[in-house]
Protein backbone atom coordinates (compact mmCIF):
# COMPACT_ATOMS: atom_id res chain seq x y z
CA UNK A 1 0.00 0.00 0.00
CA UNK A 2 2.88 2.35 -0.71
CA UNK A 3 1.67 5.92 -1.13
CA UNK A 4 3.22 8.35 -3.54
CA UNK A 5 4.32 11.68 -2.07
CA UNK A 6 1.29 13.58 -3.34
CA UNK A 7 -1.10 11.02 -1.88
CA UNK A 8 0.69 10.97 1.40
CA UNK A 9 0.73 14.74 1.81
CA UNK A 10 -2.98 14.91 1.03
CA UNK A 11 -3.74 12.25 3.61
CA UNK A 12 -1.51 13.78 6.26
CA UNK A 13 -3.28 17.11 5.87
CA UNK A 14 -6.76 15.66 5.68
CA UNK A 15 -6.38 13.48 8.76
CA UNK A 16 -4.00 15.70 10.77
CA UNK A 17 -1.50 12.89 10.95
CA UNK A 18 0.99 14.88 13.02
CA UNK A 19 -1.53 14.97 15.87
CA UNK A 20 -1.63 11.20 16.27
CA UNK A 21 1.43 9.95 14.49
CA UNK A 22 3.28 9.62 17.78
CA UNK A 23 0.40 9.81 20.24
CA UNK A 24 0.37 7.57 23.29
CA UNK A 25 0.03 3.88 22.60
CA UNK A 26 -0.93 0.81 24.57
CA UNK A 27 1.61 -1.89 25.27
CA UNK A 28 5.32 -2.16 24.96
CA UNK A 29 5.94 -5.44 23.18
CA UNK A 30 4.39 -5.97 19.76
CA UNK A 31 1.68 -8.61 19.44
CA UNK A 32 2.45 -11.25 16.84
CA UNK A 33 0.44 -14.24 15.66
CA UNK A 34 -2.91 -13.03 16.95
CA UNK A 35 -5.79 -15.42 16.31
CA UNK A 36 -9.49 -15.39 17.09
CA UNK A 37 -10.73 -18.60 18.69
CA UNK A 38 -14.31 -17.83 17.69
CA UNK A 39 -15.90 -17.15 21.09
CA UNK A 40 -14.66 -13.59 21.51
CA UNK A 41 -17.77 -11.81 20.20
CA UNK A 42 -20.95 -12.80 22.08
CA UNK A 43 -23.86 -13.16 19.67
CA UNK A 44 -21.60 -13.57 16.67
CA UNK A 45 -20.34 -16.76 15.06
CA UNK A 46 -16.96 -16.85 13.38
CA UNK A 47 -17.72 -18.13 9.88
CA UNK A 48 -14.43 -17.46 8.16
CA UNK A 49 -10.89 -16.69 9.19
CA UNK A 50 -8.03 -16.42 6.74
CA UNK A 51 -4.50 -15.14 7.21
CA UNK A 52 -3.25 -13.37 4.09
CA UNK A 53 0.50 -13.25 4.03
CA UNK A 54 0.73 -12.36 0.34
CA UNK A 55 -0.89 -8.97 0.87
CA UNK A 56 1.13 -5.94 1.91
CA UNK A 57 0.98 -5.71 4.84
CA UNK A 58 -0.12 -9.24 5.77
CA UNK A 59 -3.44 -9.43 7.60
CA UNK A 60 -5.98 -11.64 9.28
CA UNK A 61 -9.45 -11.36 7.75
CA UNK A 62 -12.31 -12.72 9.81
CA UNK A 63 -16.04 -12.71 9.17
CA UNK A 64 -18.70 -13.01 11.83
CA UNK A 65 -22.36 -13.84 11.34
CA UNK A 66 -25.05 -12.77 13.73
CA UNK A 67 -26.32 -15.76 15.72
CA UNK A 68 -29.84 -14.42 16.07
CA UNK A 69 -30.27 -12.87 12.67
CA UNK A 70 -30.22 -13.91 9.05
CA UNK A 71 -27.13 -14.73 7.06
CA UNK A 72 -27.42 -11.23 5.61
CA UNK A 73 -25.88 -9.77 8.76
CA UNK A 74 -22.15 -10.20 8.44
CA UNK A 75 -19.31 -8.26 9.99
CA UNK A 76 -15.74 -8.20 8.81
CA UNK A 77 -13.02 -7.82 11.42
CA UNK A 78 -9.61 -7.30 9.88
CA UNK A 79 -6.48 -7.28 11.96
CA UNK A 80 -3.07 -6.15 10.73
CA UNK A 81 0.04 -6.74 12.82
CA UNK A 82 2.89 -4.30 12.38
CA UNK A 83 6.34 -4.50 13.90
CA UNK A 84 5.88 -1.36 16.00
CA UNK A 85 3.42 1.29 17.14
CA UNK A 86 4.91 3.77 14.66
CA UNK A 87 4.49 1.32 11.81
CA UNK A 88 0.88 0.71 12.87
CA UNK A 89 0.17 4.44 12.69
CA UNK A 90 1.67 4.56 9.19
CA UNK A 91 -0.53 1.66 8.16
CA UNK A 92 -3.57 3.38 9.64
CA UNK A 93 -2.81 6.45 7.52
CA UNK A 94 -2.43 4.27 4.43
CA UNK A 95 -5.73 2.55 5.17
CA UNK A 96 -7.43 5.93 5.41
CA UNK A 97 -6.24 6.48 1.85
CA UNK A 98 -8.33 3.49 0.77
CA UNK A 99 -11.65 5.18 1.56
CA UNK A 100 -13.24 6.86 -1.40
CA UNK A 101 -15.37 9.04 0.86
CA UNK A 102 -13.60 12.09 2.15
CA UNK A 103 -15.77 12.03 5.26
CA UNK A 104 -13.98 9.47 7.41
CA UNK A 105 -13.02 11.52 10.44
CA UNK A 106 -11.11 10.90 13.65
CA UNK A 107 -13.25 10.06 16.66
CA UNK A 108 -12.05 11.36 19.99
CA UNK A 109 -15.38 10.57 21.65
CA UNK A 110 -15.03 6.79 21.43
CA UNK A 111 -13.01 4.79 23.96
CA UNK A 112 -11.83 2.40 21.26
CA UNK A 113 -8.20 1.91 20.25
CA UNK A 114 -5.36 4.34 20.75
CA UNK A 115 -6.54 6.24 17.67
CA UNK A 116 -9.89 5.61 15.99
CA UNK A 117 -11.62 6.81 12.82
CA UNK A 118 -15.04 6.14 11.33
CA UNK A 119 -18.68 6.18 12.20
CA UNK A 120 -21.50 3.96 13.40
CA UNK A 121 -21.20 1.49 10.49
CA UNK A 122 -17.42 1.30 10.18
CA UNK A 123 -14.53 1.86 12.55
CA UNK A 124 -10.81 1.58 11.93
CA UNK A 125 -8.38 1.95 14.79
CA UNK A 126 -4.83 1.41 15.94
CA UNK A 127 -4.12 -0.34 19.22
CA UNK A 128 -0.46 -0.80 20.02
CA UNK A 129 1.17 -2.37 17.01
CA UNK A 130 -2.18 -3.55 15.65
CA UNK A 131 -4.51 -1.92 13.13
CA UNK A 132 -8.07 -3.17 13.18
CA UNK A 133 -11.05 -2.55 10.92
CA UNK A 134 -14.58 -3.49 11.91
CA UNK A 135 -16.94 -3.18 8.98
CA UNK A 136 -20.24 -4.37 7.67
CA UNK A 137 -19.84 -7.11 5.10
CA UNK A 138 -23.43 -8.25 4.58
CA UNK A 139 -26.56 -6.85 2.99
CA UNK A 140 -28.13 -5.98 6.33
CA UNK A 141 -26.18 -3.11 7.79
CA UNK A 142 -25.76 -2.87 11.56
CA UNK A 143 -23.93 -0.61 13.97
CA UNK A 144 -20.42 -1.77 14.76
CA UNK A 145 -19.42 0.19 17.84
CA UNK A 146 -20.24 -2.54 20.37
CA UNK A 147 -18.39 -5.16 18.37
CA UNK A 148 -15.41 -2.84 17.89
CA UNK A 149 -15.34 -2.19 21.63
CA UNK A 150 -15.33 -5.92 22.34
CA UNK A 151 -12.64 -6.62 19.78
CA UNK A 152 -10.57 -3.82 21.25
CA UNK A 153 -10.93 -5.27 24.73
CA UNK A 154 -9.78 -8.66 23.45
CA UNK A 155 -6.69 -7.24 21.81
CA UNK A 156 -5.93 -4.94 24.74
CA UNK A 157 -5.47 -8.00 26.91
CA UNK A 158 -2.83 -9.24 24.50
CA UNK A 159 -1.27 -5.86 23.81
CA UNK A 160 -0.91 -5.03 27.50
CA UNK A 161 0.40 -8.51 28.13
CA UNK A 162 2.72 -8.29 25.17
CA UNK A 163 1.94 -11.90 24.43
CA UNK A 164 3.33 -13.33 21.23
Amino acid sequence: MALDREQREMLERQHEFSAWQAADATGEKPVQGFVFKGDELPGWELVKSRRKDALDPPRLDTFWQSEDDSADTLLGVQLIERPSVAAARETLLELLGEFESAGIARRTDLPIGDVVFGHEFMLVFARGNLVIQVRNAGRRVVQVEDVARTVDAVVVRQVEGGKG
Binding site: L55, D56, R135, A137
Partner: protein
Protein backbone atom coordinates in the same frame (compact mmCIF):
# COMPACT_ATOMS: atom_id res chain seq x y z
CA UNK B 1 -4.64 -52.71 -27.72
CA UNK B 2 -3.46 -49.12 -27.99
CA UNK B 3 -4.26 -46.70 -25.20
CA UNK B 4 -3.96 -42.95 -25.05
CA UNK B 5 -1.97 -42.15 -21.91
CA UNK B 6 -1.50 -38.38 -21.79
CA UNK B 7 -1.75 -35.14 -23.77
CA UNK B 8 0.36 -32.00 -23.47
CA UNK B 9 -1.05 -28.73 -24.78
CA UNK B 10 1.62 -26.52 -23.24
CA UNK B 11 4.62 -28.55 -24.33
CA UNK B 12 6.96 -25.59 -24.75
CA UNK B 13 6.93 -23.31 -21.72
CA UNK B 14 9.20 -20.79 -23.45
CA UNK B 15 6.97 -20.07 -26.41
CA UNK B 16 3.27 -19.58 -27.10
CA UNK B 17 3.36 -19.32 -30.90
CA UNK B 18 2.71 -22.99 -31.59
CA UNK B 19 1.27 -24.30 -28.34
CA UNK B 20 -0.70 -23.26 -25.27
CA UNK B 21 0.43 -20.61 -22.77
CA UNK B 22 1.66 -21.18 -19.23
CA UNK B 23 -1.20 -21.42 -16.73
CA UNK B 24 -2.13 -22.19 -13.17
CA UNK B 25 -5.58 -22.74 -11.69
CA UNK B 26 -5.45 -20.22 -8.83
CA UNK B 27 -3.11 -19.06 -6.09
CA UNK B 28 -2.66 -22.52 -4.63
CA UNK B 29 -3.23 -24.95 -7.50
CA UNK B 30 -1.02 -25.61 -10.47
CA UNK B 31 -2.01 -26.87 -13.92
CA UNK B 32 -0.13 -30.10 -14.38
CA UNK B 33 1.45 -30.81 -17.75
CA UNK B 34 0.51 -33.14 -19.37
CA UNK B 35 -2.83 -31.47 -18.92
CA UNK B 36 -4.77 -34.64 -19.78
CA UNK B 37 -3.96 -37.97 -18.19
CA UNK B 38 -5.81 -41.24 -18.64
CA UNK B 39 -8.14 -42.17 -15.78
CA UNK B 40 -7.53 -38.84 -14.03
CA UNK B 41 -9.16 -36.39 -16.43
CA UNK B 42 -12.87 -36.89 -17.00
CA UNK B 43 -14.46 -33.48 -17.37
CA UNK B 44 -13.29 -30.67 -19.68
CA UNK B 45 -12.15 -28.52 -16.76
CA UNK B 46 -9.82 -31.31 -15.66
CA UNK B 47 -7.75 -30.58 -18.74
CA UNK B 48 -7.40 -26.83 -19.35
CA UNK B 49 -5.32 -25.01 -21.94
CA UNK B 50 -5.27 -21.45 -23.23
CA UNK B 51 -4.15 -20.10 -26.58
CA UNK B 52 -3.08 -16.51 -27.27
CA UNK B 53 -4.61 -15.97 -30.68
CA UNK B 54 -2.27 -13.16 -31.73
CA UNK B 55 0.70 -15.41 -31.05
CA UNK B 56 -0.55 -18.55 -32.77
CA UNK B 57 -1.81 -16.68 -35.85
CA UNK B 58 -0.43 -18.22 -39.02
CA UNK B 59 1.53 -20.89 -37.17
CA UNK B 60 1.08 -24.63 -37.10
CA UNK B 61 -0.15 -25.49 -33.62
CA UNK B 62 0.98 -28.75 -32.13
CA UNK B 63 0.19 -30.92 -29.15
CA UNK B 64 2.07 -33.88 -27.80
CA UNK B 65 0.51 -37.17 -26.81
CA UNK B 66 1.80 -40.46 -25.46
CA UNK B 67 0.41 -43.95 -25.97
CA UNK B 68 0.90 -47.49 -24.75
CA UNK B 69 0.31 -50.74 -26.53
CA UNK B 70 -0.28 -54.08 -24.84
CA UNK B 71 0.32 -56.06 -28.01
CA UNK B 72 4.04 -56.98 -28.12
CA UNK B 73 3.88 -57.18 -31.90
CA UNK B 74 2.67 -53.62 -32.17
CA UNK B 75 5.60 -51.51 -33.33
CA UNK B 76 3.76 -48.65 -34.95
CA UNK B 77 0.33 -47.29 -35.72
CA UNK B 78 -1.22 -44.32 -37.38
CA UNK B 79 -3.10 -42.21 -34.83
CA UNK B 80 -5.40 -39.24 -35.17
CA UNK B 81 -8.21 -37.50 -33.30
CA UNK B 82 -11.36 -36.09 -34.84
CA UNK B 83 -13.59 -33.36 -33.51
CA UNK B 84 -16.24 -35.51 -31.84
CA UNK B 85 -18.92 -32.93 -32.45
CA UNK B 86 -18.28 -32.95 -36.18
CA UNK B 87 -17.74 -36.72 -36.32
CA UNK B 88 -19.91 -38.10 -33.50
CA UNK B 89 -19.09 -41.77 -33.64
CA UNK B 90 -18.98 -41.96 -37.42
CA UNK B 91 -16.45 -44.55 -38.47
CA UNK B 92 -16.36 -45.17 -42.16
CA UNK B 93 -15.19 -48.70 -42.78
CA UNK B 94 -14.67 -47.65 -46.36
CA UNK B 95 -14.45 -44.23 -47.89
CA UNK B 96 -18.02 -43.20 -48.73
CA UNK B 97 -18.87 -43.05 -52.39
CA UNK B 98 -21.61 -41.59 -54.56
CA UNK B 99 -24.28 -39.48 -52.92
CA UNK B 100 -22.99 -40.24 -49.43
CA UNK B 101 -19.56 -38.90 -50.37
CA UNK B 102 -21.14 -35.73 -51.71
CA UNK B 103 -23.26 -35.35 -48.60
CA UNK B 104 -20.26 -35.78 -46.32
CA UNK B 105 -18.26 -33.30 -48.39
CA UNK B 106 -20.99 -30.70 -48.01
CA UNK B 107 -22.06 -31.34 -44.46
CA UNK B 108 -18.76 -31.69 -42.64
CA UNK B 109 -17.49 -28.16 -43.37
CA UNK B 110 -20.90 -26.80 -42.50
CA UNK B 111 -21.03 -28.61 -39.18
CA UNK B 112 -17.45 -27.63 -38.46
CA UNK B 113 -18.23 -23.98 -39.15
CA UNK B 114 -21.30 -24.03 -36.95
CA UNK B 115 -20.29 -26.12 -33.98
CA UNK B 116 -16.76 -27.36 -34.57
CA UNK B 117 -14.20 -26.97 -31.84
CA UNK B 118 -11.63 -24.23 -32.02
CA UNK B 119 -8.70 -26.64 -32.08
CA UNK B 120 -10.10 -28.67 -34.99
CA UNK B 121 -8.71 -32.18 -35.42
CA UNK B 122 -5.45 -33.88 -34.51
CA UNK B 123 -3.71 -34.73 -37.77
CA UNK B 124 -2.91 -38.38 -38.43
CA UNK B 125 0.65 -39.22 -37.41
CA UNK B 126 2.62 -42.45 -37.37
CA UNK B 127 3.54 -43.40 -33.83
CA UNK B 128 6.27 -45.93 -33.04
CA UNK B 129 6.33 -48.12 -29.94
CA UNK B 130 9.31 -49.44 -28.05
CA UNK B 131 8.58 -51.78 -25.20
CA UNK B 132 4.92 -50.92 -25.48
CA UNK B 133 5.44 -47.19 -24.93
CA UNK B 134 5.51 -44.40 -27.45
CA UNK B 135 6.83 -41.58 -25.35
CA UNK B 136 5.50 -38.14 -26.23
CA UNK B 137 4.87 -37.69 -29.95
CA UNK B 138 4.15 -34.36 -31.64
CA UNK B 139 0.87 -33.99 -33.53
CA UNK B 140 -0.11 -31.06 -35.72
CA UNK B 141 -3.62 -29.73 -35.32
CA UNK B 142 -5.59 -29.44 -38.56
CA UNK B 143 -8.81 -27.63 -39.40
CA UNK B 144 -8.21 -25.34 -36.43
CA UNK B 145 -10.16 -22.11 -36.04
CA UNK B 146 -7.59 -20.34 -33.91
CA UNK B 147 -6.82 -17.74 -36.59
CA UNK B 148 -8.95 -14.77 -35.68
CA UNK B 149 -10.72 -16.70 -32.94
CA UNK B 150 -12.71 -14.60 -30.51
CA UNK B 151 -12.42 -14.68 -26.73
CA UNK B 152 -14.02 -17.79 -25.33
CA UNK B 153 -13.93 -20.76 -23.02
CA UNK B 154 -15.03 -23.75 -25.02
CA UNK B 155 -14.97 -27.51 -24.81
CA UNK B 156 -12.90 -29.45 -27.29
CA UNK B 157 -13.91 -33.08 -27.55
CA UNK B 158 -11.70 -35.39 -29.51
CA UNK B 159 -12.37 -38.94 -30.73
CA UNK B 160 -8.98 -40.62 -30.81
CA UNK B 161 -8.50 -43.40 -33.36
CA UNK B 162 -5.75 -45.64 -34.66
CA UNK B 163 -5.10 -48.03 -37.51
CA UNK B 164 -2.21 -50.41 -37.91
CA UNK B 165 -2.06 -50.13 -41.72
CA UNK B 166 -3.63 -47.75 -44.22
CA UNK B 167 -5.88 -50.59 -45.30
CA UNK B 168 -7.32 -51.05 -41.82
CA UNK B 169 -10.39 -49.21 -40.65
CA UNK B 170 -9.93 -46.55 -37.97
CA UNK B 171 -10.59 -47.92 -34.49
CA UNK B 172 -11.67 -45.72 -31.59
CA UNK B 173 -9.26 -45.50 -28.64
CA UNK B 174 -10.74 -42.82 -26.43
CA UNK B 175 -12.80 -39.68 -26.26
CA UNK B 176 -11.11 -36.79 -24.45
CA UNK B 177 -12.59 -33.51 -23.33
CA UNK B 178 -10.68 -30.29 -22.73
CA UNK B 179 -11.47 -26.76 -21.59
CA UNK B 180 -9.87 -24.54 -24.22
CA UNK B 181 -9.59 -20.82 -23.56
CA UNK B 182 -8.93 -18.48 -26.47
CA UNK B 183 -7.55 -15.11 -25.48
CA UNK B 184 -6.57 -12.21 -27.69
CA UNK B 185 -2.91 -12.01 -26.79
CA UNK B 186 -0.51 -13.02 -24.06
CA UNK B 187 -1.76 -11.84 -20.66
CA UNK B 188 -0.20 -8.59 -19.49
CA UNK B 189 0.91 -7.50 -16.02
CA UNK B 190 0.29 -8.36 -13.30
CA UNK B 191 0.14 -11.67 -15.12
CA UNK B 192 3.42 -13.27 -16.09
CA UNK B 193 4.61 -16.12 -18.28
CA UNK B 194 7.94 -16.49 -16.52
CA UNK B 195 9.33 -17.90 -14.36
CA UNK B 196 7.29 -20.97 -15.16
CA UNK B 197 7.33 -22.60 -11.76
CA UNK B 198 4.79 -23.57 -9.13
CA UNK B 199 5.83 -20.77 -6.80
CA UNK B 200 4.90 -18.12 -9.38
CA UNK B 201 1.35 -17.14 -8.46
CA UNK B 202 1.27 -14.50 -11.22
CA UNK B 203 0.91 -17.07 -13.99
CA UNK B 204 -2.59 -16.62 -15.46
CA UNK B 205 -5.29 -18.38 -13.44
CA UNK B 206 -7.93 -20.53 -15.09
CA UNK B 207 -10.26 -19.45 -12.27
CA UNK B 208 -9.94 -15.91 -13.64
CA UNK B 209 -10.21 -16.98 -17.29
CA UNK B 210 -13.47 -18.81 -16.52
CA UNK B 211 -15.11 -15.48 -15.69
CA UNK B 212 -13.16 -13.18 -18.01
CA UNK B 213 -13.88 -15.37 -21.04
CA UNK B 214 -17.54 -15.63 -20.14
CA UNK B 215 -17.89 -11.88 -19.69
CA UNK B 216 -16.07 -11.11 -22.94
CA UNK B 217 -17.24 -14.07 -24.99
CA UNK B 218 -16.96 -13.28 -28.69
CA UNK B 219 -14.71 -10.25 -28.35
CA UNK B 220 -12.09 -9.90 -31.06
CA UNK B 221 -10.50 -6.62 -29.94
CA UNK B 222 -8.96 -5.44 -26.69
CA UNK B 223 -11.60 -2.71 -26.53
CA UNK B 224 -14.32 -5.32 -26.84
CA UNK B 225 -12.73 -7.58 -24.26
CA UNK B 226 -12.22 -4.71 -21.81
CA UNK B 227 -15.81 -3.65 -22.33
CA UNK B 228 -17.09 -7.16 -21.76
CA UNK B 229 -15.23 -7.46 -18.48
CA UNK B 230 -16.42 -4.01 -17.39
CA UNK B 231 -20.05 -4.94 -18.06
CA UNK B 232 -19.55 -8.32 -16.39
CA UNK B 233 -18.24 -6.73 -13.20
CA UNK B 234 -20.90 -4.03 -13.15
CA UNK B 235 -23.61 -6.66 -13.65
CA UNK B 236 -22.52 -8.34 -10.39
CA UNK B 237 -24.47 -5.68 -8.56
CA UNK B 238 -26.63 -5.90 -6.57
CA UNK B 239 -26.79 -9.72 -6.38
CA UNK B 240 -23.10 -10.40 -5.66
CA UNK B 241 -21.58 -7.05 -4.71
CA UNK B 242 -22.69 -3.51 -4.12
CA UNK B 243 -21.04 -0.16 -3.52
CA UNK B 244 -19.66 0.30 0.00
CA UNK B 245 -21.80 3.14 1.28
CA UNK B 246 -21.86 2.00 4.91
CA UNK B 247 -18.09 1.56 5.02
CA UNK B 248 -17.14 4.90 3.50
CA UNK B 249 -16.20 3.35 0.16
CA UNK B 250 -13.38 1.29 1.59
CA UNK B 251 -11.28 -1.16 -0.43
CA UNK B 252 -12.27 -4.71 0.45
CA UNK B 253 -10.45 -6.70 -2.22
CA UNK B 254 -7.66 -4.40 -3.40
CA UNK B 255 -5.87 -2.90 -0.38
CA UNK B 256 -2.25 -4.01 -0.37
CA UNK B 257 -2.70 -6.21 -3.45
CA UNK B 258 -5.56 -7.93 -5.23
CA UNK B 259 -7.19 -10.54 -3.01
CA UNK B 260 -8.33 -12.41 -6.09
CA UNK B 261 -8.84 -15.66 -4.19
CA UNK B 262 -11.58 -14.13 -2.09
CA UNK B 263 -13.10 -12.28 -5.03
CA UNK B 264 -13.46 -15.57 -6.86
CA UNK B 265 -14.88 -17.17 -3.74
CA UNK B 266 -17.46 -14.36 -3.72
CA UNK B 267 -18.22 -14.93 -7.42
CA UNK B 268 -18.86 -18.59 -6.64
CA UNK B 269 -21.38 -17.72 -3.96
CA UNK B 270 -19.13 -17.73 -0.90
CA UNK B 271 -18.40 -15.09 1.71
CA UNK B 272 -15.29 -13.78 -0.03
CA UNK B 273 -14.47 -10.49 1.60
CA UNK B 274 -18.15 -9.64 1.83
CA UNK B 275 -20.78 -7.83 -0.14
CA UNK B 276 -19.24 -4.38 -0.43
CA UNK B 277 -16.77 -3.02 -2.96
CA UNK B 278 -15.34 0.35 -3.85
CA UNK B 279 -13.84 1.94 -6.93
CA UNK B 280 -10.34 0.56 -6.36
CA UNK B 281 -11.80 -2.93 -6.10
CA UNK B 282 -13.74 -2.50 -9.34
CA UNK B 283 -10.76 -1.00 -11.18
CA UNK B 284 -8.67 -3.94 -10.02
CA UNK B 285 -11.28 -6.51 -11.05
CA UNK B 286 -11.59 -4.98 -14.51
CA UNK B 287 -7.94 -4.46 -15.33
CA UNK B 288 -6.76 -7.77 -13.89
CA UNK B 289 -9.45 -9.87 -15.56
CA UNK B 290 -9.19 -7.95 -18.86
CA UNK B 291 -5.41 -8.22 -18.84
CA UNK B 292 -5.72 -11.98 -18.51
CA UNK B 293 -7.33 -11.82 -21.96
CA UNK B 294 -4.48 -9.77 -23.43
CA UNK B 295 -5.74 -6.26 -22.70
CA UNK B 296 -3.32 -3.73 -21.24
CA UNK B 297 -5.12 -1.71 -18.56
CA UNK B 298 -3.85 0.03 -15.44
CA UNK B 299 -5.54 0.83 -12.17
CA UNK B 300 -5.15 4.55 -11.68
CA UNK B 301 -6.67 7.31 -9.59
CA UNK B 302 -8.12 10.75 -10.17
CA UNK B 303 -8.73 13.61 -7.76
CA UNK B 304 -6.23 16.17 -6.55
CA UNK B 305 -8.85 17.34 -4.04
CA UNK B 306 -12.41 16.45 -3.06
CA UNK B 307 -14.91 16.69 -5.89
CA UNK B 308 -18.71 16.65 -5.84
CA UNK B 309 -20.47 14.19 -8.08
CA UNK B 310 -23.23 14.46 -10.64
CA UNK B 311 -26.03 11.96 -10.07
CA UNK B 312 -24.67 8.48 -10.85
CA UNK B 313 -25.70 4.86 -10.46
CA UNK B 314 -23.17 3.29 -8.14
CA UNK B 315 -22.65 -0.44 -8.68
CA UNK B 316 -25.62 -2.30 -7.21
CA UNK B 317 -27.78 0.82 -6.96
CA UNK B 318 -30.82 1.79 -9.01
CA UNK B 319 -31.07 5.30 -7.55
CA UNK B 320 -29.60 8.26 -9.41
CA UNK B 321 -27.75 10.28 -6.82
CA UNK B 322 -24.27 11.41 -5.87
CA UNK B 323 -22.71 8.29 -4.36
CA UNK B 324 -24.23 7.30 -1.00
CA UNK B 325 -26.23 10.52 -0.64
CA UNK B 326 -27.41 10.90 2.96
CA UNK B 327 -25.26 8.09 4.38
CA UNK B 328 -23.07 8.86 7.42
CA UNK B 329 -19.55 9.72 6.38
CA UNK B 330 -20.51 10.95 2.91
CA UNK B 331 -20.83 14.41 1.46
CA UNK B 332 -22.01 13.82 -2.12
CA UNK B 333 -18.54 13.40 -3.54
CA UNK B 334 -15.31 11.46 -3.68
CA UNK B 335 -11.95 12.13 -2.08
CA UNK B 336 -10.53 10.12 -4.96
CA UNK B 337 -11.81 7.75 -7.60
CA UNK B 338 -10.05 4.89 -9.33
CA UNK B 339 -10.74 3.23 -12.67
CA UNK B 340 -9.17 0.89 -15.19
CA UNK B 341 -7.29 3.17 -17.54
CA UNK B 342 -5.30 2.89 -20.75
CA UNK B 343 -1.76 4.02 -21.54
CA UNK B 344 -0.49 7.02 -19.62
CA UNK B 345 -3.67 7.25 -17.50
CA UNK B 346 -4.11 10.93 -18.33
CA UNK B 347 -6.84 13.11 -19.84
CA UNK B 348 -6.26 11.80 -23.36
CA UNK B 349 -6.52 8.14 -22.40
CA UNK B 350 -9.64 6.03 -22.03
CA UNK B 351 -11.27 4.63 -18.92
CA UNK B 352 -13.26 1.50 -18.12
CA UNK B 353 -15.28 2.07 -14.94
CA UNK B 354 -17.33 -0.86 -13.64
CA UNK B 355 -18.03 0.93 -10.36
CA UNK B 356 -20.69 3.29 -11.65
CA UNK B 357 -22.83 4.43 -14.53
CA UNK B 358 -22.80 8.08 -15.48
CA UNK B 359 -25.48 10.08 -17.23
CA UNK B 360 -24.80 9.72 -20.93
CA UNK B 361 -27.08 12.44 -22.24
CA UNK B 362 -26.34 16.06 -23.15
CA UNK B 363 -26.75 17.27 -19.56
CA UNK B 364 -25.20 14.89 -17.03
CA UNK B 365 -25.87 17.25 -14.14
CA UNK B 366 -29.63 16.71 -13.91
CA UNK B 367 -32.59 14.51 -14.83
CA UNK B 368 -33.57 12.92 -17.11
CA UNK B 369 -30.73 10.42 -16.90
CA UNK B 370 -29.45 8.05 -19.55
CA UNK B 371 -27.34 5.28 -17.97
CA UNK B 372 -23.92 5.00 -19.56
CA UNK B 373 -21.36 2.49 -18.33
CA UNK B 374 -17.99 4.11 -19.02
CA UNK B 375 -16.35 1.68 -21.44
CA UNK B 376 -13.40 2.88 -23.48
CA UNK B 377 -14.52 6.44 -22.76
CA UNK B 378 -11.93 9.21 -22.98
CA UNK B 379 -11.24 10.77 -19.59
CA UNK B 380 -11.25 14.24 -21.12
CA UNK B 381 -10.90 17.80 -19.91
CA UNK B 382 -13.41 20.11 -18.24
CA UNK B 383 -16.10 21.11 -20.69
CA UNK B 384 -15.50 18.54 -23.42
CA UNK B 385 -18.35 16.22 -22.45
CA UNK B 386 -16.20 13.18 -21.77
CA UNK B 387 -15.90 10.99 -18.64
CA UNK B 388 -14.70 13.74 -16.31
CA UNK B 389 -17.67 16.00 -17.15
CA UNK B 390 -20.15 13.18 -16.73
CA UNK B 391 -18.79 12.19 -13.32
CA UNK B 392 -18.16 15.55 -11.69
CA UNK B 393 -20.16 18.72 -11.11
CA UNK B 394 -18.95 21.65 -13.23
CA UNK B 395 -17.42 23.57 -10.32
CA UNK B 396 -15.22 20.65 -9.23
CA UNK B 397 -14.02 19.30 -12.56
CA UNK B 398 -10.58 20.81 -12.12
CA UNK B 399 -10.23 18.88 -8.84
CA UNK B 400 -11.08 15.65 -10.62
CA UNK B 401 -7.75 15.55 -12.40
CA UNK B 402 -5.83 12.43 -13.41
CA UNK B 403 -3.13 11.28 -11.01
CA UNK B 404 -0.99 9.07 -13.24
CA UNK B 405 1.67 8.70 -10.55
CA UNK B 406 -0.77 6.36 -8.81
CA UNK B 407 -1.08 3.97 -11.74
CA UNK B 408 -0.45 0.41 -10.74
CA UNK B 409 -1.28 -3.22 -11.41
CA UNK B 410 -1.86 -4.96 -8.13
CA UNK B 411 -0.27 -8.32 -7.60
CA UNK B 412 -2.80 -11.18 -7.42
CA UNK B 413 -2.98 -13.53 -4.48
Amino acid sequence: MIQLEAIKFNHDANDASHDAINLRRNASQWVNVPEWQRAICVNPEDSPAAYAVAHTAGNAVTIQASFSCTDPECTSAEIRALDNVVYPGIVFVKQPTGCLAWLVKVLIPLIRALVGNVLGDVGATTVSFAGGQSGFVSFTLVNTRLNGASVGARTTEWRWQYRRTPADPWTDIAITRHRIYTILDLPTAPWQQTPYQQSNTQLPWTDVLDYACQWSMGATTVEGAGGGVTRGVNDLGPAVVTYDCPGGGGSRYSAGGFDCTDFIERLKGGVGNGYFVNCSDCATFVSTFANALGCDLWQSRMGSAFFHLNPILAIGSSVWQPACHGTPGWSDGFGYHEVAWTGACDSDENVYDACLKVDGDADPTSAPHTPLLPVNLRFGNPGDGQYRDRLTVPADRANCSPRPTTKTRRTVS
